[in-house]
């Protein structure tokens, strides 16, 4: 990371009692990987473009990482969004977090929900997300869409990397692990894969931060962000009347709400 951040990391570790920094680095193959800084000796400088950066908040769901208590995490816009959403969902309890967002040759530090909210509102994006692949899929006929997904999902091995890397998938035991009843069929047959991805999309609907980490880690290259973005758009479209203080569209409703397809 840039020099200013590195200096600050050193400061945090020395003065603030931060004992773990989850930074980012590039490995020899050019992959962006997490870089764990446990002492000042681990600090390295690396150059990663802000949009190339990944969202490593999923690590904060790990008990071993949580036990560090005071953690710095280098992230970009999506990290802040994740932080905000996780706070809203009563996660990240007992953790003292320092979000470090690199800018051109400086950085922004965020430690509280308030700061995160200010940062995010400063970068207000359009509520409808545009994605080429999503547009393409939406243009297809129902049969084409079904075939498209069946072809894409065929390669899924249910390694659950999408789940593991997703910062919002923090459940200590996932529904897939529930075997009485066996909600999601265990075999990675098309049927089991289909149900898993429907469920994943449903559970993330309204909560997803669109960091696309699930797509980045998928060995089978499944464009899960089509589903995520599609649902995001649907929610902003259908429930746009909600005021901005409502952070989760699905546990809320407007009085006298009507839906046209329910006759």
């Amino acid at each position: 990371m840039n020099q200013k951040i590195n200096q600050h990391i050193a400061y945090l570790m020395k003065e603030k009692g931060v004992n773990l920094i989850i930074s980012q680095a590039k490995d020899s193959n050019g992959f962006v990987i997490p870089h764990f800084i446990l002492s000042e000796n681990d600090i390295i400088s690396s150059v990663i473009a802000i949009n190339e950066m990944r969202n490593f908040f999923a690590y904060l769901n790990k008990q071993e990482i949580k036990s560090f208590k005071s953690i710095g995490i280098v992230c970009n816009y999506f990290g802040v969004k994740t932080f905000f959403q996780l706070k809203f969902e009563n996660q990240l309890k007992d953790l003292e977090l320092f979000l470090l967002i690199p800018t051109d040759d400086d950085f922004i530090e965020i430690t509280s929900e308030k700061q995160a909210e200010d940062y995010l509102s400063g970068l207000k994006q359009s509520t409808i997300l545009v994605d080429e692949e999503l547009e393409n899929v939406k243009k297809m006929s129902m049969e084409e869409r079904w075939n498209y997904w069946m072809k894409t999902l065929e390669l899924c091995t249910k390694c659950y990397a999408c789940r593991a890397a997703c910062p919002m998938c923090y459940c200590s035991s996932c529904t897939t692990e529930c075997n009485i009843p066996q909600w999601i069929p265990v075999p990675a047959s098309l049927h089991g894969i289909f149900e898993w991805h429907v469920m994943r999309a449903m559970h993330l609907a309204g909560r997803c931060t669109e960091c696309d980490e699930c797509v980045k880690v998928c060995p089978a290259n499944i464009p899960l962000n089509i589903l995520n973005k599609g649902l995001h758009n649907k929610i902003s479209e259908a429930f746009s009347s909600d005021d901005s203080s409502i952070k989760y569209a699905l546990n809320f409703f407007q009085p006298d709400e009507k839906v046209d397809f329910i006759k």
Binding site: F36, T157, K158, P187
Partner: protein, 326 residues
């Protein structure tokens, strides 16, 4: 023993593969699906992707991600069982890499007492392509695997000037059915004792001395607990047995499982002897480099580097092992 040798031009290679398909052989090879290179049945030579390492290893041919062991159905007071037969007769797997072959070799050792899988492993005919270059994250040579040669295959394809040198054994002979005049005897490469590799293997075994090392915690930090490393690995064999169905009918399946996942070792009681990623990661590294030395007599990592590419954190299993030993 790849005791014979023949030279094919590009054209000849293609017509040979297309000929096999035409003859009704099931030819499986690396193809691109949804931007991902993986082994799948091909219908024509041009589908083959021969200059890339597949994302998923070739073990899928023998151990698919899920397989039906048998189906059962109940009628009145009788239960019927129908066993699933899927032999690999007539199957040719083309485009294997030497590491894949090492993987199959390990699987043969591992499944020595499972006649069904062993039979599958020994039935299909393997056609290997020697690697000219290293792929991202490959470290097979570090483990003493010759990326340019494999004597555990039926056919070996090596690029040469204006075409390919093809080495084959008797089984390979069957599918190549070459003109006798074209065939030359091949120089048989015998495994050369390699002291440095033996030393390395012995060195890796010292990992067991580091079982309680604090470094495992650091090594496992990046591990998120998904199953991608195990699912792409050519030598990962763990599976889960599942019954699907209802009181009337259903099937018993074996499905891939991965030691990185939290549920893998969880007991019915709720106790989990590997409660965190530290123990799970340690188990994986120890299994690949230490435990199978005791059980099968060799390390089970073949250095293909697929897990490094597939891992969300791109953890390098070999480097981590060395890091522990440092």
């Amino acid at each position: 023993m790849l005791n014979k040798q023949i030279h094919y031009s590009n054209q000849q290679l293609q017509s040979w593969v297309d000929g096999l398909i035409y003859k009704g052989k099931t030819v499986i090879g690396p193809v691109k699906k949804n931007g991902v290179t993986c082994f799948s049945e091909i219908k024509n030579f041009n589908e083959l992707i021969l200059n890339e390492r597949t994302v998923y290893s070739a073990k899928e041919v023998v151990l698919p991600k899920y397989d039906i062991l048998f189906k059962f159905a109940k009628e009145k007071d009788k239960v019927f069982i129908s066993k699933n037969e899927n032999s690999l007769n007539n199957v040719i797997v083309i485009g294997l890499r030497p590491c894949d072959n090492e993987g199959f070799d390990y699987l043969r050792l591992f499944f020595k007492s499972d006649p069904d899988i062993l039979q599958k492993l020994n039935t299909f005919i393997s056609v290997t392509i020697a690697c000219e270059k290293k792929f991202d994250g490959c470290f097979c040579e570090e483990l003493g695997i010759d990326k340019n040669y494999s004597n555990k295959t039926d056919v070996l394809i090596k690029t040469s000037e204006n075409g390919y040198d093809i080495y084959f054994n008797d089984r390979g002979n069957e599918i190549l059915s070459p003109q006798a005049s074209d065939v030359k005897p091949a120089e048989i490469k015998k495994p050369v004792p390699n002291v440095s590799i033996d030393n390395k293997v012995a060195y890796l075994k010292k990992l067991s001395e580091q079982y309680n090392s604090e470094k495992w915690k650091i090594v496992s930090m990046g591990c998120l607990g998904c199953g991608s490393c195990a699912f792409v690995c050519p030598t990962c064999t763990c599976f889960d047995v599942q019954d699907e169905g209802n009181t009337q009918n259903g099937q018993r399946l074996i499905c891939w499982d991965a030691c990185g996942m939290g549920l893998f070792t969880k007991h019915a009681s709720g106790h989990n002897p590997r409660p965190s990623q530290v123990e799970r990661r340690r188990h994986r590294i120890m299994h690949k480099f230490v435990y199978t030395q005791d059980t099968e007599g060799k390390i089970s990592c073949v250095g293909c580097g697929r897990c490094i590419a597939a891992c969300p954190a791109h953890l390098n299993i070999y480097n981590q092992a060395l890091q522990i030993l440092q």
